[in-house]
Structures are given as C-alpha cells and as structure tokens.
Symmetry: C2
Subunit: 300 residues, 2 copies
C-alpha cells in the first residue's frame, strides 16, 4: 500500500504540474529535491510570477524513521516508527477573480520496533478560497467533490464538507478561510472500508482535483480587475497567512519539528497586506464574501 500510494503521488505531481504549466503559458515549476537527515525526503516544485499563478507549490514528500517525541505524545504511543507520504499543493493566482486553492492527500503507517504495522490511515482533502464569490464556481467545485465522494459512499460528501468548514476556520476572526470543499483524516480499515477501498477513494479525489479547479481558472483568468479589487485580494491573503501560521496543525507541526521550512511555507501568498480594522462597504461584493465565510453554504 505504501509503495503504491507513494508511486501514485509521484505520478499525480507530474500530471498536475505539467497541466498547470500548460495553462499558465509562462512560468515553469522549479524543482528542489531534498533529503531529511532522519530518513526520507521530498520533491518540492514551486511556480512564481506566471501569467496566471503568482505563486504556488505542488510538493510531495515521503519521510520515515523513529516517530518524533511530540508525535508519540500526540498519538499516545511509545517506541514507534513511522512512514508518512503525501502531496500538498497551494496555488495563489494573480487575478483576484481566480480563487486560491489548496489540496493535500496523505498516507501514514506506524510500526512497532519489530517493524509490524500497528496502525495505518489516509487523510486529505481540497478546498477553495475565493476573493470574489461566483456561485457557478462554488457549485462546480463542490459538485466535483461530491461526484468523487458519491462513487464510494453517499455519506462522505456531507460529512467531509462539514469537516472542511470546521477545520479551515479562523476562530479569532469568526470566519472560514474559504468556501471549503473536503477534509478527511484517520481513514482506517472498517467492516465497510478496506485500506484498498480507502486508497480507491483518496485517489479518486486526487484525480478529481484538476477537474474541480481548472475550469474555474479558465473561466475567470481573463476578467479585468481594479487596484481596489487587488488590494482586497491582498488583505484577504493576510487571513490566509493568519490561518496557516496560527491554526493549521500541519504547518505548526512542521515548523516546530524541524521540517523543511521553505517547502512548508511555500503555502504563504506572495504579496499580502494588513490594514487596521478593515471592513468592506455594506452591500458590496466584498461584504458578500465575508457573510458567506461567516455562514457556510451548502452549494450542492
């Protein structure tokens, strides 16, 4: 399973980065291959200053060894080894009419000191962060998520949609980071779902990513925008930074356990603003976004 999924994310990284380069038409992903001193490493691919993508990363990593102390405490285990691999991506488009997108698919195995697997699970999801809400785009993104889920279990979409809204939440602002999508974790073997079933589900979602996002990019990339709309995008990007640095468990875990900093922080947007006590005008498109972020919508 571990080799199968590790191969899968290598191929998925290739297919996502080549298609994003084709859409961008200008910038190419720069690749950095890195090694983790304690075991494993990764292949980071970052795109900057493109026609469409101002900054983005599509990274894979596969790390293994002794489970770090902080994670042993977190999982309540002792003397455990682990293997973890996954693909993480974040894309920050230049045009504020094109949403930012984030996705992650990952697999984790834990071993006892004899090397027996004592636990294993999948996790991941994909979510959209628009600066201006186009209902058609929100519906398309969520419908693509739902279609992928429904092939495996009709309960998955509502469950993982709700978890996504709950997780990507800036509690100190009382608003969601974006308009959500899917978030799932600790997908373990049950009577209904074997690990192979979970593999089929997670790869189904991974394969749906470009279908979920690319049509939105194509539809909005040539829309005109004003300096004021660009400022709004940069202010909202500040909220993205706040979520990733204050609340996101993956980012904080990476920063506090000596992960590869530049691969972790590729998620941060290129140009960002903080304006004191900023509030959009009543009745504006900007205010419409805030209201949606405060009260998540069931788009499909």
């Amino acid at each position: 399973m571990k080799d199968k999924f590790f191969n899968y994310i290598h191929e998925l990284q290739d297919s996502i980065t080549s298609q994003l380069e084709a859409i961008d038409g200008k910038a190419k992903f720069q690749e950095d291959v890195w090694k983790r001193p304690e075991g494993g490493g990764g292949r980071t691919r970052v795109i900057e200053n493109g026609n469409i993508f101002e900054k983005g990363g599509v990274n894979i990593s596969g790390v293994h060894g002794t489970l770090p102390d902080s994670m042993q405490t977190y999982f309540g285990v002792k003397d455990a080894d682990f293997f973890a691999c996954g693909l993480s991506l974040v894309l920050h488009p230049k045009n504020p009419m094109v949403p930012t997108v984030h996705a992650n698919w990952r697999y984790f195995e834990m071993y006892d000191k004899e090397g027996n697997i004592v636990d294993q699970w999948f996790g991941g999801g994909q979510d959209l962060t628009p600066y201006y809400v186009f209902e058609d785009d929100a519906k398309h993104f969520h419908q693509t998520c739902k279609t992928a889920c429904d092939k495996h279990n009709p309960e998955f979409y509502p469950k993982y949609k709700a978890r996504c809204d709950a997780y990507f939440y800036n509690s100190h602002r009382n608003e969601g980071r974006g308009i959500g999508g899917l978030f799932f974790d600790y997908c373990k073997e049950t009577d209904e779902m074997s690990m192979q079933n979970w593999y089929d589900f997670v790869t189904e979602v991974g394969n749906s990513f470009l279908d979920a996002y690319v049509p939105i990019v194509e539809k909005r990339k040539d829309l005109e925008y004003t300096k004021t709309q660009r400022n709004w995008q940069e202010i909202r990007r500040g909220r993205y930074v706040e979520f990733n640095l204050v609340h996101d468990k993956g980012t904080l875990f990476g920063l506090k356990t000596n992960g590869r900093i530049e691969s972790i922080l590729m998620s941060l947007p290129p140009h960002v603003q903080w304006v004191y006590d900023h509030h959009p005008e009543a009745g504006s498109e900007e205010e419409k976004l805030i209201k949606i972020l405060q009260n998540p919508i069931n788009w499909v």
Copy 2:
C-alpha cells in the same frame, strides 16, 4: 501602584503619539476606545500611510476580572482575579533604511477571592528590527537602553539584552527577529528591589523610548532607496509576521482568549512579501543583516 502605573501609561501614550505625529508631519493617529465585556478596556491609536510611518499603533489597555481559565492553568492558581495594564507599540516605517521598533511596558496584579493582592509584577522592553544595519543606530539604541538600566542596576542591561535576543527569536529560521534591546518579565519585589524601585526602573525605560528611537528616524528618514531594497524590507516583514503569529506569547494569548483582534494585530506590517527560498547575495548588505541576526552582537 496600579493607579499610578495606569496613569503613567496614559500620559506616555499621549506624549509618544504627539511626538510621532510631529515627526511624521502628515498622518494622524486614529483613536478607538474599546470596552472588554468582562471588565476594563483600552485606547488604541493607529497611524497609517504617513510620510514616515506606513503603519503603526500605540495602544494602552487596562483589563480586570476573573483570571481566564487558560491563565489560571498557566500560573498554577485557582479562583484568582486579576488586573493587567500596559502600553504596546509597533511602528513600521515606509523607508527600508528606517528600522521597525516595538516596545511594551506592563503591570500585573493577581488577587484572591477576598480581593487581597497575592502577586504583582512588571514586565516589558523595547527592541529594534532594521532592514539594513547601521552600526551607529544599533549602538545608539542599545546605549540608550543601557543608560536607562544602569541607573538602577548595572546587571540589568546585560541580563535583559540577552533575554531579548532569546525571546524575539524565529527558531524555525534560526535567526533573531531583529537586533534586540531589552526584555524583562516577572519583575517582583525582592530584598534589593521594592515594587516602587521596579516602577522607577520600568518608567525610566518607558521614558527612554523616544530618545532611543527618534534620532534614528531623523537620521535615516530621507535616505533614498531602490525598489529592490523595498522588496527586501517586505520580505523581512514576512519574518516579523512569522514571529508574531507563530511564537509571540502575547499575540497568541490574545487571539485564543477573545482579545480585541484589531488592537492585537495592529502589530502586523502593511505590505508584506513571501518569496520561495529567498537568499541574499553573498557579501551584500542584506546578507550582513542575516549574519547579525544569526549571531547577536554586543553593541555596547
């Protein structure tokens, strides 16, 4: 003591904001008076888009009531009430040749349920974050800190200078946030220092702030700079954001305990950049800064 220090920070806020406005010559501080539902409140003063100050805040607050659960756990007490007041300031100049500065002076009292003071202490400090290092400026800032300290105890400056370097440290980057200054906390009554002695010391430091910072502003505010130098400033401001959102105890405490968000986050810079894996050129002024941040200097 509590009334005396509370009055002091009111007067200090007035004197700092009026002198900063005079130096800026264009922007005025906007005042927001706010109330804390559980007791107390504050007076936030923010300046934006000035000739010199692109963004900054000089805030005072005085809050009281039942000590929040998270703080009871932190201090290992039960059924405690508290009073806390302080002045916090951060100034982000437009010109990258002028350093960012931060300062804070605060006083805390803890009470049992009968209203008796069971603990009380002062804390605070001031520290400088340059984008380009002028040795004269660093020496002037630290000398002013040292002079204020030496009037009270010759051991204070080296001790609180070292604490400042240790506290304002981006461990995930292996570098200091800036070139330091002073940081002290839990300044409690001892055989040598009464609370009145601590009051005299803390207000001495508070009164030294404008002497420490303003001459640097005056000296550098009209220096010319390039777009590349401005980009460097915005990239370095990203590190400032990382410290404040990932490591700063005060910020995180405020965000997680329902503080006034806009007053807490006034510390974040106005325009910020994140560039993937950015490294300054060997031998450049930018690289010189990084080397100093990695190995703090004894400036005086």
